[in-house]
């Protein structure tokens, strides 16, 4: 039933490796951009607050396929904005990371903002009373506590991101679901076996993430 895996025709590990790479680059990017967005949304400057709120609400409510195809057709094909990539393979990968970061960071931002809300107001007031600036209050007092309380929600965002990378197949990134399309085209008589292989692959990727980060979340949570 699974004999198509032995044919040597399909680079299953290679395809999943691209999925892992997409996930890691996008996760790091979204963590940075998402934290900045969260900072904007709680900042005392109205302009930054408005931008943060507007960005999160617009991008979060745009379908990911639309974001990625927009990156590829709009930025890549029409405006020739290639992020330094030379061929379609590298251009596609970089544009996919850009799109995934733009999208996932909104969810990271909202998770962190919920974490900020778990920090008692007294903490910020005490820090202000000591004469710390807004940036110091945020980076030294609020965010470290906020992050410790949102490990579990961030783990969910990471798992969603892992699965969302499959959308990158729409713009030609050779990750797992792109290989699945190819296998379905060739092995149409073993359709469900092909599905099973890829479903199992994603379980292997996401289940340990969930278990590990769930354990970390219990360890680091601030007991109040």
């Amino acid at each position: 039933m699974f004999d198509f895996l032995d044919s040597g025709q399909y680079d299953l590990l290679g395809a999943f490796w691209v999925t892992v790479q997409l996930t890691l680059y996008s996760a790091v990017g979204s963590l940075i951009w998402g934290t900045l967005l969260a900072g904007m949304r709680v900042s005392p400057v109205p302009l930054l607050r408005t931008f943060g709120t507007g960005y999160v609400n617009v991008v979060r409510n745009t379908p990911l396929t639309l974001v990625l195809v927009g990156c590829s057709l709009g930025l890549g094909q029409t405006l020739q904005f290639t992020l330094g990539g030379q061929d379609f393979k590298s251009i596609g990968f970089r544009l996919a990371v850009l799109g995934l970061v733009a999208y996932t960071s909104t969810f990271v931002c909202e998770s962190i903002r919920s974490g900020i809300n778990t920090v008692p107001v007294g903490q910020a007031e005490a820090a202000r009373a000591l004469g710390l600036s807004f940036r110091q209050v945020l980076t030294l007092i609020i965010l470290p506590q906020a992050f410790r309380s949102v490990v579990a929600p961030l783990a969910n965002v990471l798992i969603a991101l892992t699965k969302n990378t499959t959308v990158a197949a729409a713009i030609g990134v050779a990750e797992a679901s792109a290989l699945m399309k190819k296998m379905i085209e060739n092995e149409s008589s073993a359709l469900f076996a092909v599905f099973a292989v890829f479903a199992f692959g994603f379980i292997v990727l996401t289940l340990p993430t969930g278990l590990l980060l769930g354990w970390v979340s219990k360890r680091v949570a601030v007991k109040r």
Partner: protein, 277 residues
């Protein structure tokens, strides 16, 4: 009180409007059902101009649609008793095996892997893998020229695999989810050529809004005999469909359908393929 009245009036109006539309719908159904009551479900592509396309008004057009309509007529079903079902490439075998459709006519290339799950009537069209380029581009004349070119196709498709594996392994291949996305790149000179079956390419090039912008090269890079997929072991239906296809060729309807759907693109079609019994 006033508000309540207004709400009641609005609600009544809404109910009347809904009933009226419902009546309209019913009467329409009655008139269309006056023929034989039997329906036939046929799987076609909904997104390939020239082959099988759902138009904005909900009707269907394309060569596969014409062939399927003719075959259905020969099987004893009027055009209005046909229920069209979307048959994306990956789902065709299962639609047939599960009995969701009577048969599938959806740019369905006959090959051995597929024959394991379904039977094929036909072939009713011999297509070839080909290239679509900008009308003023003369730099591509053979498959080897593609090694230094930017190319676009659909992810996982046989055409994309052919380019990658044998025809031009060094070509820079962009793989999108659909062919329409490729046309943007071709128009903006981000890609140099679009590759898939010439019948599909001809369908795109024949669209009124794209007329004159692109041309087919006619390289015949592979053979793609299109067949009508039907349930494995249903020899009775297979014979009937084959007879219908033979009749379609002999009475000239086949030629007419080819000209109508692919003609505007200067598509040089192969003669009707010999139907194997």
């Amino acid at each position: 009180m006033k508000l309540q009245k207004a709400t009641a009036a609005a609600a009544t109006a809404l109910v009347i409007a809904l009933t009226a539309t419902a009546c309209g719908g019913d009467s329409k159904d009655d008139s269309s059902g006056s023929g034989s009551g039997d329906k036939i479900t046929i799987g076609i592509k909904f997104d390939q101009p020239g082959i099988g396309l759902q138009k904005p008004d909900g009707s269907y057009a394309g060569f596969d649609v014409d062939v399927a309509t003719y075959v259905a007529k020969e099987l004893g079903y009027d055009a209005k008793n046909i229920v069209w079902k979307k048959a994306p490439s990956a789902e065709r075998e299962n639609l047939i095996a599960n009995g969701d459709v009577k048969f599938v006519a959806a740019s369905y290339t006959i090959n051995d892997e597929r024959k394991k799950k379904v039977d094929f009537a036909g072939p009713y069209l011999l297509a070839h893998q080909d290239l679509l380029v900008r009308a003023d581009d003369n730099s591509i004349t053979k498959a080897e020229d593609l090694n230094s070119k930017k190319l676009c196709s659909v992810a996982g498709s046989t055409s994309a695999q052919n380019i990658h594996d044998t025809l031009a392994p060094k070509a820079d291949l962009q793989e999108f989810a659909g062919y329409s996305e490729c046309l943007t790149g071709l128009e903006n000179e981000a890609v140099d050529a679009l590759t898939t079956d010439d019948s599909i390419l001809a369908g795109y090039a024949a669209q009124p809004e794209l007329k004159g912008k692109f041309k087919l090269l006619g390289l015949k890079l592979s053979d793609e005999p299109y067949g009508i997929g039907l349930k494995k072991g249903d020899t009775e239906l297979k014979t009937k469909v084959n007879d219908a296809l033979k009749k379609m060729v002999s009475d000239g309807s086949w030629e007419k359908a080819v000209k109508a759907n692919f003609g505007p693109a200067n598509y040089k079609n192969e003669p009707a393929p010999q139907i194997a019994d």
